[in-house]
């Protein structure tokens, strides 16, 4: 880790957004992760996405659990709300927070251990409840904080640093999320911000549960020649199935794709998501064909990246259980405590 504080000097011509903020205003404290950690690139992609979405930082809640990945919420948006939970319990806390105040933007950052091992029970229920949040799993296939044991997402084909095999099959978080009803499921690579930043923007704008499984190499414990989650392996085996662009409601789409290959999807807030297919055989809006296709890529050792599944009928937990329109903290005392008259009538109904 770096001993100095990141200098406050910034480029004199650094661009500002409509909030009057530069990209650097969305940063947090300096990272203490290993030099070259993929997670720092994901942090930078989140900073970039929030800057481009012109988010007011005080309307964002950063949620995380335990692990290298979960430390990173400290490294961006240091003017936002945040909750660093017990190991694997971030989905519950995020669910509760979201129920209490549905108006904030919920950004969960977790890792493969926090999600696929200790937090699996939590994760799957947040997915099926369609909590309106973007859940980013920084997936490096290893327990970096405890010095490099296999995690549950490590592929059978991937050996550890000392050349040992894993005896267990891996968990594919994307497949699982699609099966359980997540409306927005994507996979990306920390080393490809051109793909990752638009996905994060679209995932934040999506209403419902959005998962981005980001392959984020552990430069210390899982970046060797026999790893399938190294910079080199992912670059060599990256099968990009499509590109996503997010265009805010007010702006025109600047198309740079061949005609016929791009599909526009209007999200609930009016912003346009443009999806451009790079793989003609893959349809991310059809769960029945998407899942077997993903299985085929996996068997070939390819890392399918891009938007893997999209349910354009956006619906979240609040829609499903019919909660009030406004956040609970904005409901007045008179509404919450309507007095003894209504109480008497409720009691009467139970007699």
């Amino acid at each position: 880790m770096t001993h100095i504080v990141k200098p406050q000097f910034r480029h004199p011509r650094l661009a500002t957004n409509s909030q009057g903020l530069t990209r650097r205003d969305y940063e947090g404290v300096i990272s203490t992760l290993c030099a070259g950690c993929g997670h720092d690139s994901v942090t930078a992609a989140i900073v970039e996405a929030c800057f481009e979405l012109e988010l007011p930082a005080h309307r964002v809640a950063k949620m995380s659990g335990i692990g290298c990945s979960s430390k990173t919420t400290n490294y961006f948006l240091n003017h936002s709300h945040g909750f660093n939970t017990v190991h694997g319990r971030m989905p519950s806390v995020a669910t509760g927070a979201n129920l209490a105040n549905r108006d904030l933007t919920y950004l969960g950052v977790s890792g493969d251990g926090d999600t696929a091992s200790i937090g699996m029970g939590q994760f799957v229920h947040a997915v099926r409840r369609r909590v309106n949040m973007l859940y980013i799993c920084e997936n490096n296939g290893t327990y970096g904080l405890t010095k490099g044991q296999f995690s549950a997402t490590n592929d059978r084909a991937s050996k550890n640093r000392k050349g040992l095999d894993t005896p267990f099959d891996s968990i594919d978080l994307c497949n699982m999320a699609i099966e359980l009803g997540a409306g927005f499921v994507a996979r990306s690579f920390s080393g490809d911000k051109a793909q990752l930043v638009p996905l994060i923007k679209a995932g934040i704008r999506y209403k419902g549960f959005a998962l981005i499984d980001v392959i984020s190499p552990c430069v210390t414990f899982n970046n060797h020649a026999t790893s399938t989650k190294s910079y080199e392996y992912v670059r060599d085996h990256n099968h990009m199935i499509g590109r996503v662009d997010l265009v805010p409601a007010a702006e025109e789409i600047e198309a740079d794709y061949a005609p016929g290959t791009a599909t526009d999807v209007t999200l609930h807030d009016g912003s346009q998501m443009r999806f451009a297919k790079l793989d003609e055989t893959y349809d991310p809006t059809d769960r029945e064909t998407a899942l077997p296709a993903l299985e085929r890529y996996r068997n070939r050792g390819e890392v399918a990246t891009g938007l893997l599944y999209l349910d354009a009928r956006e619906a979240d937990l609040h829609d499903l259980i019919g909660t009030p329109e406004q956040p609970l903290n904005e409901i007045s005392e008179a509404e919450l405590c309507p007095g003894s008259g209504p109480l008497a009538s409720i009691n009467a109904a139970h007699r």
Binding site: G36, N223, Y231
Partner: protein, 601 residues
């Protein structure tokens, strides 16, 4: 773009903006670090070797380094480089034993005409090689314009005497008080080489009505300053008008104030923005309450009973044509009459060579300027060299020093029968500064401290005393704060393409968004493709070879803080912070590097 060739010493040298801008190429960041460590003697010696007059220049330099300083592009103001140099000079210890001594004479005699900064530099460089350097000077003391034209409230005589005296003490032969009136006669003395460092001593005049009649009360600025310096003038009229907007005008007006003038007014023909004087010298004059009237063109000297009573000015305005060329046009407003008793005219200086015969092989051009080689400083007569203001007209001390170094190389090669155009290469080193995982041998944490102002003497006292130095200089604590503002631009970010795994760590951490990984393109396009487009085309792009993804790393050098965070974030050591030390070639051998020990206060 093609990959950057960092083996060319010019590439990294250019990144060190201050050193690149300095005519003598003084290694500025290197001595500023030494000042921060309290190693004033070492800092002084680095300066002495490169610019010969650290104490003098630390007070009077035109500081081309400061407008170039990268700090000025990152925040408001550059590092106070010049004033830090003075700190080294003010606080250094004894250096006599560290100065090279002249060995046995090598049998060659060199005449140096004029004992100003250019000639003294030549002597400094040639004496340690055994040359007999004969300094021939019209005045009785060495220093040239440094003594005659710079008032002692800016440059104390003691500082001047010490630094000029050090060179004389190295064994120069002084023929002071002797004016050369014939180059032919001098050449007949049989010198092996002659160096002309006579400056640009002739102050320009104005021929407007009343000039001749009022000549008793109209003084040429440079002549006035030297007369004051030699105590030939000790008083001046109560009301003084100074005509001119250069540094000489600034020195004239402040000198007049100290000689007892009640009101001093500076008038300039051009708009203020076009004034030739350095901004800080204008500031110093105005701080002493001297008004500067711009767009005032002198029209006439008015007399009554044969005595000067006023100067009449025509108001002007500037117009610029498409090529940026300026024309001054009368505004038609009524003339301005400024009553006065004395006028000081500082409207420029010329070289003057009435003493050089035109039939001895030294060619002059149509403007009566000698024809001098830009590289070898040699005239059209082999063995006769020019430097300082005598070569191409008025510049300043640091340029004279730079000329002196180059001329000394030429004279040495000429006297040894070698080709003068065959120039020695600079000495450069590039050494990693890594001490530990995230530890560097320099202070890589840029301070937010803003530029400090140099304390000044009480004006109530300073304005009455011609020899009381106005600037007091930084004390040690102030010097440390100011020295830490230096961004260490000589600690280079060196990139190794073959080690990079393209993890983007450096891109993400860079506080000033210098680094971009992108497809390659031609330079104009590439400049637009960066994270922050690189619009300062005077600053280079550092482009790597192609990486495995076919992209290239592009670093815009413009506002790099040299904080080393890219190297700290790099998991493979593809980035490293390496100190680039550039030492300009001199004819004299480098002085022994001082012992690396901590300075004990």
């Amino acid at each position: 773009m093609r990959p950057t060739d960092t083996s060319d010493p010019a590439y990294f040298h250019k990144v060190v903006d201050c050193q690149w801008a300095c005519p003598a190429h003084t290694p500025v960041p290197e001595y500023i670090r030494l000042i921060a460590q309290g190693r004033y003697t070492d800092a002084y010696l680095i300066n002495w070797e490169s610019n010969v007059f650290p104490g003098i220049l630390g007070r009077t330099c035109d500081r081309p380094c400061e407008p170039a300083c990268r700090r000025g592009r990152v925040e408001e103001k550059p590092v106070a480089i010049c004033r830090l140099k003075r700190v080294a000079a003010d606080n250094r210890g004894v250096i006599d034993h560290l100065i090279p001594q002249a060995p046995a004479r090598n049998g060659k005699r060199v005449a140096l005409i004029g004992a100003g900064p250019a000639s003294l530099t030549v002597a400094r460089d040639l004496l340690p090689l055994g040359y007999d350097c004969v300094l021939i000077e019209r005045d009785r003391k060495a220093g040239g314009l440094m003594r005659k034209n710079i008032p002692s409230f800016r440059l104390p005589v003691a500082v001047l005497d010490e630094e000029t005296g050090r060179i004389l003490d190295m064994g120069a032969t002084a023929r002071f008080g002797e004016e050369v009136t014939s180059m032919k006669a001098l050449l007949d003395e049989g010198f092996d080489a002659v160096f002309v460092g006579t400056g640009a001593p002739r102050g320009k005049d104005l021929s407007i009505p009343g000039r001749a009649e009022a000549s008793e009360n109209i003084h040429i600025g440079t002549d006035f300053l030297s007369s004051v310096s030699f105590r030939h003038i000790e008083t001046i009229g109560k009301r003084v008008v100074v005509i001119g907007g250069g540094n000489t005008a600034m020195d004239c007006c402040r000198t007049a104030l100290r000689l007892g003038a009640d009101s001093v007014t500076v008038t300039v023909r051009s708009p203020r923005a076009d004034m030739k004087a350095s901004p800080w010298e204008i500031e110093d004059a105005e701080r002493e309450g001297i008004p500067i009237l711009d767009n005032h063109s002198p029209k006439e000297f008015r007399l009554e009973n044969g005595k000067l009573t006023a100067v009449v000015f025509e108001k002007m305005r500037a117009e610029y044509d498409d090529s940026g060329k300026r024309r001054l046009i009368p505004t038609g407003e009524s003339d301005v009459v400024i009553p006065c008793d004395d006028v000081l005219m500082a409207v420029g200086q010329d070289m003057a060579f009435p003493w050089i015969e035109r039939d001895i092989g030294i060619a002059f051009d149509a403007r009566e300027q000698p024809v001098v080689g830009k590289v070898d400083f040699q005239s059209t007569r082999p063995g006769v060299f020019f430097g300082g203001d005598a070569a191409w007209g008025p510049e300043n001390i640091i340029w004279a020093v730079a000329h002196g170094h180059q001329a000394a190389i030429s004279i040495d090669r000429f006297c040894q029968g070698q080709d003068v155009m065959d120039r020695p290469a600079p000495a450069t080193t590039l050494i990693s500064q890594k001490m530990g995982i995230h530890e560097w041998s320099y202070d890589n944490d840029p301070t937010q401290v803003r530029r400090l102002n140099v304390p000044h003497a009480d004006p109530a006292l300073a304005l009455r005393d011609l020899s009381m130095e106005v600037e007091l200089g930084f004390d040690a604590a102030q010097a440390l704060l100011e020295a830490r503002r230096c961004l260490n631009c000589d600690i280079q970010t060196v990139f190794s393409t073959n080690l990079c795994i393209e993890c983007d760590g450096c891109v993400d951490i860079c506080p000033v968004d210098c680094i971009t990984f992108t497809q390659n393109a031609d330079e104009p396009d590439l400049r637009e493709m960066l994270r922050v487009p690189a619009h300062n085309t005077e600053q280079d792009l550092y482009v790597s070879e192609a990486l495995p993804t076919a992209r290239v790393m592009v670093k815009d050098e413009d506002v790099c803080l040299h904080c080393g965070l890219c190297a700290e974030r790099c998991p493979t050591g593809a980035w490293d912070m390496q100190k680039f030390l550039y030492n300009e070639a001199h004819s004299s051998p480098a002085i022994q590097a001082p012992e690396r020990k901590q300075h004990v206060a």
